[in-house]
């Protein structure tokens, strides 16, 4: 009964989303103000129906209803409760429903937000979001219904993908999707502004917190996925330039450009058409990411059993949504000229270059991700694009970007006078260089070159970002949340650059055979092999090596890399041991028994690798803090007349 109820709720949600889109878009366009009253009820109804459908699917999982095909395919009677719930988004159909649920959550939040904005504008925003919901609901019902029944019911389920049976990966999709879907809000604001035919600074100020929040969630989602691959799956790295990773990274890059471009539109009323374009592109790339993952046009480590019929549907949806948005853009953007100017070394210039570099970076990732597909489509054979392409091409725009941020945070709006702020920038730069030299020649002792440059850039960015806020605090001024968030994110970016540089340059690795009592010296640490102990687990027994790690003769930590023998000592699995320290990760894996008490060991020291994720989390936190700035909250309901235009009103 529950699955039918869920299915029915999904159909009702489709109809209500249709009404939401129709009234939201048609009422302002046709000037029928009485229809405006229908928009919010339709929105609320849609959200309730979506929530009902989702609850029905969760309940089917919780109650082991193996008569539902999707449940039978992704659950099992032995699966614990928490993974039965996570299994809801363990495969395609449920992931889509999760997408729709999160879109409904954002839509409800927006409905509260736009209540304080001009009523027609708010209706249009909700109308656009309704259109997106409609498309995804139609997609789900037409090609990916999670409520289909099995006849006869399966006696048991075929279990959740084992990779997903873990807390980190269970949380990864919801966070990532919250970010993806969140860009639909900026998209809806952009479309609404173009339909209104006017875009002022108040518009940018309303759009900013939504975009910042979406960006922060996307940052967290990407970081969690990367952390997971490194620590738990032991993939031996934190980023693989896999198509599915890239699919989430491209909207992130464009989204980063968008939050900066929005600040210019907010503060100075400039870059209007550019901001609109970025808002469209950020969401388009989110949709494209869904398309790439779900249609099976790209091969990846995340490969899903994809269905070409779904690919055709998503492509059609992409063409309608993105094609429609870009057509509207071509028609309306030329009307949004802004005549204010700015000087060369003003903050506007820096943010313009920031945008250009971020878009170039996104374009290189885009090209590398789609090149195999294009080559395949043109019959040029299969092409594999890997880190040897992505690493250097991505670094090229990124290094100058870091320098631009370090200087740009001191630039003034409009005026190009950096003179007054020259001293702190230069001092921070010299200090950064000193830190870098100390790290390269002192602490890590060796391999200068690129490391020297990027350490210096990272340290410069950290110090330079802190100059202004610290100065303000010293003068007894309070910092608005927007500044706190921005500073935190920029400092985190600097830390991120330093961490990536350290781990890419100074990872020490050795494969070595040791007998009991022997010591290997790797990267300033002594790894003393103390021999092998027998261990016994619930489903396995085996051995673990005891490796005492010492530094200057002092014990640091004891690691226990395991070799597990599952089932009567026959299936052998290796479990590496990782110890996270303040400055590095120590990694030991147990290799083979070489006889006579000698074992082969793989020893790695990855400096600062944990700061990669700490920095990403701080960036996201910065985004959320900035999003909560009071300045972004519309303070009052303006009269029936839409937003007043002009520069002065929104200062």
């Amino acid at each position: 009964m529950l699955p039918e109820l869920g299915h029915f709720a999904l159909i009702l949600a489709l109809l209500l989303a249709g009404l939401q889109a129709f009234f939201g878009l048609a009422a302002p366009a046709l000037g029928r103000d009485r229809w405006l009253a229908a928009v919010v009820p339709a929105t609320a109804g849609q959200a309730v129906m979506v929530a009902t459908a989702f609850a029905c699917l969760v309940a089917s999982f919780v109650r082991f209803d193996f008569s539902v095909a999707y449940v039978a395919q992704n659950s099992n009677s032995a699966l614990p409760l928490v993974y039965r719930i996570a299994a809801v988004w363990g495969a395609h159909e449920g992931s889509l429903l999760l997408w729709i649920v999160l879109l409904a959550c954002w839509t409800v939040a927006v409905a509260f937000g736009v209540a304080r904005m001009p009523v027609r504008f708010g209706a249009r925003v909700l109308g656009v979001l309704g259109l997106v919901s409609f498309g995804f609901l139609l997609f789900t019902l037409a090609t990916s219904n999670p409520f289909l029944r099995l006849d006869p019911a399966a006696p048991d389920g075929r279990d959740l993908n084992p990779l997903l049976q873990d807390p980190g990966l269970a949380m990864h999709p919801p966070l990532l999707y919250t970010g993806y879907v969140g860009f639909s809000v900026a998209f809806a604001f952009a479309i609404a502004a173009m339909l209104e035919g006017r875009l002022d600074q108040a518009w940018a100020r309303w759009t900013r917190p939504w975009t910042l929040a979406a960006w922060a969630f996307l940052t967290l989602g990407i970081a969690l996925g990367s952390w997971w691959a490194y620590y738990e799956l032991g993939w031996g790295g934190y980023w693989f330039w896999d198509p599915v990773e890239n699919a989430s990274f491209m909207p992130w890059l464009v989204g980063t450009a968008l939050i900066h471009s929005l600040s210019v539109t907010d503060k100075r009323g400039l870059f209007k058409s550019w901001t609109l374009l970025l808002a469209i592109v950020a969401f388009s790339l989110s949709l494209l990411g869904t398309f790439l993952v779900r249609s099976g046009v790209l091969v990846s480590v995340h490969s899903f059993a994809a269905d070409p019929a779904r690919g055709v549907f998503i492509l059609a949806f992409l063409v309608i949504m993105i094609g429609g948005a870009l057509t509207l853009y071509a028609w309306r953007a030329p009307l949004l000229k802004s005549d204010a100017g700015f000087e060369f070394a003003s903050r506007e210039s820096f943010l313009l270059f920031n945008n250009i570099l971020l878009v170039i970076a996104a374009a290189t990732v885009f090209g590398g991700t789609l090149a195999p597909l294009i080559s395949d489509s043109l019959g040029l054979g299969t092409l594999s694009v890997g880190p040897q392409y992505f690493n250097p091409t991505f670094l090229l725009p990124m290094l100058p970007l870091i320098a631009l941020v370090a200087i740009g945070v001191h630039a003034n709006w409009k005026r190009g006078r950096l003179q007054a702020r020259k001293r702190p920038v230069v001092v921070a730069g010299l200090a950064g260089l000193a830190v870098s030299a100390a790290l390269v020649f002192g602490y890590y002792a060796g391999r200068p070159g690129l490391a020297l440059v990027s350490f210096a850039l990272g340290a410069w960015l950290v110090l330079s970002s802190l100059v202004d806020p610290v100065d303000r605090l010293r003068r007894g001024l309070t910092l608005p949340r927007a500044i706190v968030g921005m500073t935190l994110a920029h400092v985190a970016l600097g830390v991120f650059v330093i961490a990536i540089t350290a781990v890419e340059t100074y990872t020490a690795e050795r494969d070595i055979a040791l007998a009991r009592g022997e010591t290997a010296h790797v990267g300033g640490f002594d790894f003393r092999f103390e021999g092998i102990d027998a261990i016994e687990g619930p489903n396995y027994d085996g051995v673990h090596g005891v490796v005492q790690v010492l530094r200057d003769g002092q014990p640091v930590v004891t690691l226990h890399p395991e070799k597990r023998r599952y089932l009567v000592q026959q299936s052998v699995m290796t479990e590496a041991a990782i110890a996270s320290q303040a400055g590095r990760d120590l990694f030991v894996a147990l290799g083979d028994d070489l006889g006579a008490g000698r074992w082969s060991l793989r020893i790695q020291i990855r400096p600062l690798v944990n700061y990669v994720w700490i920095a990403a989390a701080l960036m996201a936190l910065g985004g959320l803090i900035a999003a909560s700035d009071r300045r972004y909250r519309p303070s009052r309901v303006p009269a029936a007349e839409p937003v007043a235009t002009g520069q002065g009103s929104a200062a």
Partner: protein
Amino acid sequence: MTRYLLPLAAFALLAVVLGVGVRHSKDKGVVASPLIGRPAPQFTLPDLLVAGAPFDSRRMHGRWHALNVWGTWCVECRAEHEVLVAARQAGGLPIVGLNWRDDEAEARRWLAQLGNPYEAVPVDAEGRIAIDYGVYGAPETFLIDPAGVIVHKQIGPLTAEIWERDFLRRAARGKDGS
């Protein structure tokens, strides 16, 4: 005005490429595995039917063979099983049946009742080997060449037609070629 049309034009181009890509993926039928063209992961596991003599995947080296991932809890595997039994009777390609996260007693009963199409039945009770093979859900079947390289992957149940087209013919072509 024209510069505002550029994004639309770029998107139109992209849509064409994606459209062609989708049509191609239809020809491919299913998503290929990134493991195709790579050496099949090695493993040693107990054999369901031969006590005390573990199955070592290297035993199959030098022969074309199929690795079929199955479990008694898997609904589609039951329908597929008839195809596999028929395939074994017809001969042609030895099949190794990786028993995935299953109850051993039930698996033995299943093979006793429905017939055993497998040359060997390694038991992957913890699903560790299946992870190495990137198995997403049973049934899945890999075609592995004499050098131990994965040539093809079938996601979902085999039919007689798929078995003939994607497995027997590929193996036959490979044999002629070498």
